[in-house]
């Protein structure tokens, strides 16, 4: 084995395999709690067609405004007599995929830009980073609202807009890590033994990006759900009759005096979901980088 190959094998300080990630979840209490909470939410989203007691879209005016704990309607019914529990459970099927798509748009778009920028350097880096600075100059929610206003209201456009907001965050993060890794001996050695740029990126750079990225993914998934709920609350996200939490708060706010649960229950659902993602991001950051633990 040549000297360069030994260095390549020895110096891969941050790489994590899926098994190690599972160990991480097991060994840190806060990570475990957050992962369990999120696992439960994902399960609810997946099983909502099975576990929902009623059709979330079924209108029944005779049953409207039933309070929570009514027979057959645990969380009561809304102004059209639709079962609130079923709508909340189905709402998870709207919110979680939004987070997934928005994070994917941000991660793939921003990750690619950050990788090219950090790897290529020079004029390419300068140009791409000024573009990212321009995107960062817009407050996140304003950018998302402006994009949805331009593209037209709807869940699909909301997901794209929220994803675009996340692009510069991932780009900056990935670029910073790539710049940090580039002069390290194992990367220099990999290059010197003739590895192609593609191999260098796929086999050596991407695995070392896992740690910072999983923290960012968790935090930006929380932001994505919050932003989607905000857009839907404003009428720019999911459109009627989709059972969306933000939109349910918007409708429920009109009946606050007599039927406050119509707004409070979906609000609690959003808060718990975003809390779980933020808690996971926070706990992972502490677990993965103990220097940040204060």
């Amino acid at each position: 084995m040549s000297n360069a190959t030994v260095i390549v094998a020895a110096q891969q300080p941050f790489r994590r395999t899926p098994v190690e990630l599972l160990d991480l979840v097991r060994s840190h209490r806060r990570v475990t709690v957050a992962a369990l909470l999120l696992g439960l939410l994902v399960l609810v989203a997946l099983l909502s067609p099975v576990i929902s007691p009623h059709d979330p879209l079924a209108v029944n005016p005779d049953n409207s405004y039933l309070p929570p704990l009514s027979p057959g309607h645990l969380l009561g019914t809304d102004e059209l007599g639709r079962d609130l529990l079923s709508r909340i459970l189905w709402g998870a099927r709207v919110s979680l995929p939004v987070a997934l798509v928005a994070v994917a748009v941000g991660l793939i778009g921003g990750g690619t830009i950050g990788m090219i920028s950090g790897y290529a350097g020079g004029a390419v880096d300068l140009l791409l980073m000024r573009l990212m600075d321009a995107l960062l100059a817009f407050p996140g929610l304003i950018l998302a609202i402006a994009l949805v206003a331009a593209l037209g209201p709807g869940l699909r456009n909301a997901m794209i807009a929220i994803g675009i907001v996340a692009v510069p965050l991932y780009a900056r993060l990935v670029r910073a890590v790539v710049l940090q890794l580039k002069p390290m001996e194992f990367i220099v050695a990999t290059r010197s033994i003739g590895a192609s740029p593609l191999r260098l990126v796929v086999r050596h750079l991407i695995p070392n990006l896992v740690n910072p990225i999983i923290v960012q993914v968790s935090l930006s998934a929380g932001f994505a759900i919050l932003a989607e709920a905000t857009l839907s609350f404003l009428g720019l996200g999911a459109q009627l009759p989709t059972p969306d939490w933000g939109q349910m708060i918007n409708t429920g706010a009109a009946f606050l005096t007599n039927d406050p649960w119509l707004a409070i229950v979906p609000g609690a659902a959003i808060s718990v979901t975003v809390y779980s993602f933020n808690l996971l991001g926070d706990a992972l950051r502490d677990a993965l980088d103990p220097r940040l633990r204060t």
Partner: protein, 314 residues
């Protein structure tokens, strides 16, 4: 310091240029023809062509951008498509309400964050610390429009302690103005309070471990003196940074809060304009939000260098 400020200003130029391009392109990303929105039912081809000529939409895109930028630089932000009011005037008219809301929200967030963050840091690892840390994560997880709705339900509808909606200018009746702004400001400031609390806590922990604090303890200074006189002053430097950015982001937070509380500010104007497809007003507000955010970031960097002489930006 002057060289640093100049360098930062120069770096802002290309970013500002790209921001204006982005804001200008907003109207061109939009589906549909603005002329159709302006004309409503009266859509003859001649009328559409006249509007295109009036708005410069018949020109090549780069010419349109040049004309638009020229107008923006000269303070002409165009006219509202729906009300025909000058955009700059419409924004200026609503800006005091937004600024009042934003500033009261910020003061509220600091009044909560600094004492709680400090206590959590001093009693690190205690139950109090754990509760404060829990609050910081929860504070950024609860949507501010939901906090607003809960506040309206509890403090306005049920207990009738605060009025719901309505804006009284501060100079007209300060006390009544504060009563009206209290609930929206709490809703808007809660996320900021959580973030500031976190920064105060971590910064305070760092400072409390420094040698000069150990010396103060060794000299027999009371904990009050050590914490409030020696530690807090230095611990608040990073908090200044984040507060500065929050000032720049006032319009962002106001969009939703103003909608919930029917507050007559720039945020509500933005939402109304989106629904009216009044793109010139939306463009103006987005431009204002982006530039105030950029300016706040610049001021924060400068303030940071000024407040902490150890930082060198040579």
């Amino acid at each position: 310091m002057t060289a640093y400020i100049l360098r930062r200003l120069l770096l802002m130029v290309p970013v500002a240029f790209l921001v204006t391009v982005g804001v200008f392109m907003l109207i061109h990303l939009s589906p549909g023809d603005p002329a159709l929105v302006i004309l409503g039912e009266d859509r003859t081809p001649q009328a559409i062509a006249a509007i295109h000529q009036q708005l410069g939409l018949d020109q090549p895109l780069y010419v349109q951008y040049g004309i638009w930028l020229g107008h923006i630089v000269h303070g002409d932000w165009g006219r509202s498509i729906t009300t025909h009011e000058p955009v700059a005037a419409a924004i200026t008219e609503r800006l005091p309400a937004t600024l009042e809301l934003g500033i009261v929200a910020l003061v509220w967030s600091l009044l909560v964050a600094i004492p709680l963050g400090t206590i959590a840091a001093v009693r690190r690892g205690s139950l109090t610390d754990q509760v404060v840390t829990g609050i910081t994560v929860a504070g950024v997880s609860i949507p501010n429009f939901f906090i607003g709705i809960v506040l309206i339900f509890v403090l306005s509808v049920t207990l009738r302690l605060f009025p719901f909606g309505g804006y009284v200018p501060l100079l007209q009746n300060p006390l009544e103005s504060l009563r009206h702004v209290a609930l929206p400001a709490i809703a808007l400031g809660t996320a900021g309070a959580a973030i500031n609390m976190r920064f105060t806590r971590s910064s305070m922990i760092e400072v409390l471990n420094l040698d000069y604090i150990r010396t103060a303890w060794a000299k027999g200074a009371s904990w009050r003196r050590v914490v409030f006189v020696h530690a807090l002053k230095n611990a608040l430097i990073p908090v200044v940074t984040i507060v500065g950015i929050q000032i720049g982001g006032i319009i962002e937070g106001a969009v939703v809060t103003e909608t919930v509380f029917t507050w007559p500010g720039v945020g509500r104007l933005a939402v109304e304009s989106i629904f009216n497809r009044d793109y010139t007003v939306v463009q103006g507000i987005v431009l204002l939000a982006a530039f105030s955010y950029m300016l706040a970031n610049l001021l924060v960097d400068v303030a940071y260098a000024w407040l902490d002489p150890r930082i060198s930006y040579a």
